[in-house]
């Protein structure tokens, strides 16, 4: 019977055998359920672990690197920042509102588990083309889910990104990043030390939510009928989470927790085993003490339930009363459900029966590790050879019109105006520019964040594409005056059992690692989401990075896209542009070509450009990196946001649309120049009511503005 059960639970026969050897007996159903989820791809990273070690993770300012719930970096003067990114792809396809909402809830718990107050969220989201009603429904649902949860839980959403491509039609991507702030003395880890200490379950009552959800939803590919997965939908409760945040922060403040762990995939079994294993201890858990929402739940269901908004705190026996009282003040449930023991085994009791007894560490440490085979896609050379054929000249006005009207390039305020992006009074540069910039009140410190991904470019060349999203993210934070400081990454891929997908994965990691090394930024955390495929069709390899930038002091006035004025000079900063059209917006939208090989980033140029941007941010009214859409779109965005035209001259139309990396536009007051040491070229002047791209075309600012505003809004309203 168990032989079938383990397959139902998504375990391979080999993995089942491993459990039998490990326990030296046939596992009980509850035990098997624990292993099936803890050893799932989602929890154990069994296919990716072998490669993630390639990322540089060390720097003098790293306080906590990958492995804990969130990475933590030092900002000086006792301030620390905690950051993490996570995907909620499959749940958001099954039920976009709740899937995205619970994604926000989950990433926030990773942050306040560390002792930090969550101060901001970013969302990186990808869907199929918006001319399909289903995709509009998914985008609308995901955005209102993020808004509905994030706004109500009281954490502002300061930005993100959005892309549209056919490969995401049946597999949208929803990656959410969160940032937290804490004082050094508040840092808490998950390890449960101290025999006799008590495990207190805090927060929502436990129901049959998402039983096995982690393995069923996140680790198995979809067939087009998502119906079968419906029972695993979870309902987010931002109010419960808000109370949980305040209660936990007060617990930390009073020094009442020894260790704490949030409950996510595999619920109590995961949290209990990780706390115990982390401290080299064991734990006895009594399921009869768990507050339940539903009747007749089996021990397995209680153990594995993924009900949201719950935390497991390790507390000293004589503090338990105070902890329970504090929970009552915040009107959340709290119950002592376990005791820390020596000997390292996790023992679970139900109705005074021992229903599970496993070595706590074995759930994570003995998880399988696969070095899956990776093969270079057979058609790669053909793809590289069939890149865009460039015309001798173009009507730049017509091309710009098409770019401005693309929903991923035009005005994205339809999304971010649904998010509270001002709460806490820290937002100095709000969404709608490049990176967002937050201040830390009472200091001169500033934190900038940008999330960036580029599915198409990574599909064409995962190594170069993976590197380039880091170079772009670095410039996005640098233009606010912050230097790249730490990275979290979210690797969204198809099935690791497909060798070509695995090749994409390995190449991507290599490219990202090289860029991080060149930038000198450590990777402090991340998340891998495999099996993003439907009916055997994989998404683009889609790594997403969240780049944290740091400045101390902040610029007196950070550059903004809306600060250009007539008479100001327009400069291009960075290397002479090479042709870079493979995977560019121009090739995709204007030429209808999605092939070719993107150019490689240039680490020397890249670091110089980042340094130049940080330097110029102190004095430029406007500083904007040149990315999707090239120089032409960057200029148009500045004109539209500032309400003033521009007149620039270029020799070759390609200079307007190439997406060659490491370049910026700076708009400087009349008769000022970029400082020495910055490779800069003056190309024109702000002014007038038209966007003049001499001699290749001219577009009235009014018309450009209307097209840009309607690009996304027009499709969604």
């Amino acid at each position: 019977m168990t032989a079938e059960l383990h397959r139902e639970l998504g375990m391979s026969d080999g993995e089942y055998e491993a459990v039998v050897d490990l326990l030296d007996r046939t596992p009980e159903p509850a035990e098997l359920a624990m292993y099936s989820v803890m050893w799932s791809e989602h929890c154990s990273y069994k296919s990716s672990r072998a490669w993630l070690g390639r990322f540089p993770t060390e720097a003098p300012w790293v306080v906590v690197g990958p492995g804990e719930n969130a990475g933590v970096v030092d900002l000086g003067d006792g301030w620390l920042a905690a950051l993490r990114i996570e995907s909620h792809n499959h749940p958001s396809f099954v039920e976009p509102y709740q899937g995205a909402a619970t994604g926000v809830g989950g990433i926030l718990r990773d942050i306040f588990t560390m002792g930090a107050r969550p101060v901001a969220v970013w969302d990186a989201i990808r869907f199929g083309p918006l001319d399909e009603a289903r995709n509009r429904y998914l985008l609308g649902g995901v955005v209102s889910g993020i808004a509905g949860y994030g706004n109500a839980v009281g954490v502002p959403t300061l930005g993100g990104e959005v892309e549209f491509a056919g490969c995401y039609s049946h597999n949208p991507l929803v990656n959410v990043m969160a940032l937290g702030l804490l004082r050094r003395e508040q840092l808490v880890l998950s390890a449960a030390s101290g025999e006799g200490n008590v495990a207190v379950l805090l927060g929502a009552a436990t129901g049959r939510d998402g039983i096995g959800g982690a393995s069923i939803l996140a680790s198995a590919s979809f067939d087009a009928d998502a119906g079968a997965k419906r029972p695993s939908v979870q309902i987010g409760d931002p109010f419960e989470e808000k109370k949980l945040i305040e209660a936990c922060l007060e617990l930390y403040g009073r020094g009442l927790v020894v260790g704490i762990q949030d409950l996510g995939a595999a619920g109590i079994s995961c949290a209990a085993s990780e706390c115990a294993a982390g401290g080299g201890m064991g734990m006895d858990v009594d399921l009869d003490t768990v507050p339940l929402r539903e009747q007749g739940m089996t021990p397995g269901e209680i153990l594995m339930s993924e009900s949201q908004e719950r935390m497991l705190a390790i507390v000293q026996p004589n503090d338990v009363a105070e902890v329970l009282a504090l929970a009552e003040k915040w009107e959340i449930d709290a119950a002592a459900i376990g005791t820390v023991t020596t000997g390292g085994s996790l023992r679970v009791f139900h109705e005074n029966r021992l229903v599970a007894q496993v070595p706590a560490a074995s759930l994570s440490e003995n998880a399988p590790l696969y070095r899956r085979s990776a093969t270079r896609p057979a058609d790669l050379d053909t793809v590289w050879a069939s890149g865009p054929v460039l015309p001798d000249t173009v009507d730049a006005a017509a091309a710009l019109r098409s770019l401005l009207g693309d929903p991923a390039l035009g005005d994205r305020s339809w999304i971010y105006e649904q998010y509270d992006h001002q709460l806490f009074l820290n937002t100095v540069v709000e969404p709608g520019h490049d990176g967002a910039l937050l201040r830390i009140k009472g200091t001169e410190k500033g934190l900038a964040v940008s999330t960036d991904g580029d599915g198409l470019r990574c599909a064409l060349d995962p190594r170069r594409g993976g590197a380039r999203i880091l170079w772009e993210a670095a410039l996005n934070v640098a233009v606010t005056g912050a230097r790249p400081y730490a990275v979290v990454d979210n690797l969204n891929f198809g099935s690791p059992e497909n060798p070509e997908v695995m090749w994409h994965f390995v190449e991507t990691v290599e490219g990202m690692a090289e860029a991080c090394e060149a930038l000198g930024v450590p990777v402090v955390g991340g998340n891998v989401s495999f099996y993003n495929e439907t009916d055997g069709v994989s998404i683009h390899p889609t790594p997403v990075v969240g780049m944290l930038g740091f400045c101390d002091p902040m610029p007196a006035r950070s550059p903004r896209l809306d600060r250009a004025a007539a008479g100001m000079g327009v400069w291009v900063i960075g290397p002479e542009p090479v042709d870079d059209f493979a995977g560019s917006a121009f090739a995709r939208i204007v030429l209808g070509n999605e092939s070719g090989r993107p150019t490689a980033p240039d680490p020397a140029m890249g670091t110089a450009a980042v340094a130049a941007a940080v330097e110029l941010a102190g004095s430029s009214p406007v500083l904007h990196d040149i990315s999707a859409g090239g120089l032409a779109l960057a200029l148009a965005e500045i004109c539209i946001r500032s309400g003033v035209g521009v007149r620039v001259e270029v020799e070759d139309w390609r200079a307007l649309f190439t997406e060659a990396p490491h370049r910026l536009v700076a708009v400087l007051p009349p008769n000022t120049e970029p400082g020495p040491g910055v490779p800069a070229q003056r190309i024109g002047t702000m002014g007038g009511e038209t966007i003049d791209l001499i001699p290749f075309g001219s577009l009235p600012l009014e018309e450009a503005t209307q097209i840009w505003r309607a690009a996304l809004r027009g499709k969604m309203e």
Binding site: G148, N151, G154, D237, F239, K242, S413, E417, H421
Partner: protein, 232 residues
């Protein structure tokens, strides 16, 4: 002089309001919703957020917190009481202000700066302004669409109780300048005595140039002045 800033479970703008009032030289302190005695408090702000998760109806459950009878007492004594966003919704549910706030016309949450026109200076919110002033202040709400029975609207008009209206940057009124479909473009109202006021936009988010606007200071200054004990 102390302004009490009430915290319900789910409130989230309390620290922002304390910060803003502090910049304006007022002593502000947080008051937990279970507090049953506000002696020593000279004025009250009910800040924004999602008290009780906005469950059932926004503001519906909060109105029964012990602190609310004290808020009613201060209101009756003529002390300044201001509700911002969710706080405004709570004052309406509590019957300290007429009407109610329902879902935005476009059924979407709206977070962006809006311009509002001062319609009356006879309130703790607008005493420091001139009629016709146009202020740029962030709006941040899903249920900011003011509705009230005809009779209440008429009474409001009659007693100069409509203190702020959504308007275009040039001060003109139009459907486009009304972000959420609010009746008569109402952004803020006050009771007949003018000491109890509520508004949907967030003045505390507009008191520092680095955050984009300082227009909100004009509104909060009125409140701070009104909270100063009358010299004996």
């Amino acid at each position: 002089m102390t302004v009490g800033v009430v915290v319900f479970p789910g409130t989230n703008c309390e620290h922002d309001v304390v910060h803003a009032l502090g910049l304006l030289g007022a002593d502000a302190e947080l008051v937990w919703h279970r507090e049953g005695d506000l002696t020593g408090i000279d004025g009250i702000v009910l800040p924004g957020g999602f008290a009780h998760g906005d469950y059932l109806r926004t503001g519906a459950i909060a109105r029964f917190s012990p602190v609310m009878s004290e808020v009613a007492r201060l209101a009756a004594e003529g002390r300044p009481v201001l509700g911002i966003c969710n706080g405004f919704q709570i004052l309406c549910e509590a019957g300290l202000l007429p009407g109610a706030l329902v879902t935005n016309r476009n059924l979407r949450f709206i977070c962006r700066p809006v311009t509002v026109r001062v319609e009356s200076t006879g309130s703790v919110l607008t005493a420091a302004c001139e009629v016709g002033d146009v202020l740029c202040i962030p709006l941040n709400s899903y249920e900011g669409n003011y509705v009230a029975p005809e009779a209440d609207l008429a009474a409001l008009e009659a007693q100069d109780g409509i203190v702020l209206r959504y308007c275009a940057p040039d001060g003109s009124l139009s459907a486009d300048a009304n972000p959420n479909g609010s009746t008569a473009a109402i952004a803020g109202i006050a009771n007949a005595a003018g000491n109890v006021a509520g508004l949907m936009p967030h003045p505390e988010r507009a008191v520092e140039a680095i955050l984009g606007s300082t227009d909100g200071a004009r509104l909060l200054e009125s409140l701070v002045t009104a909270a100063r004990p009358v010299p004996a």
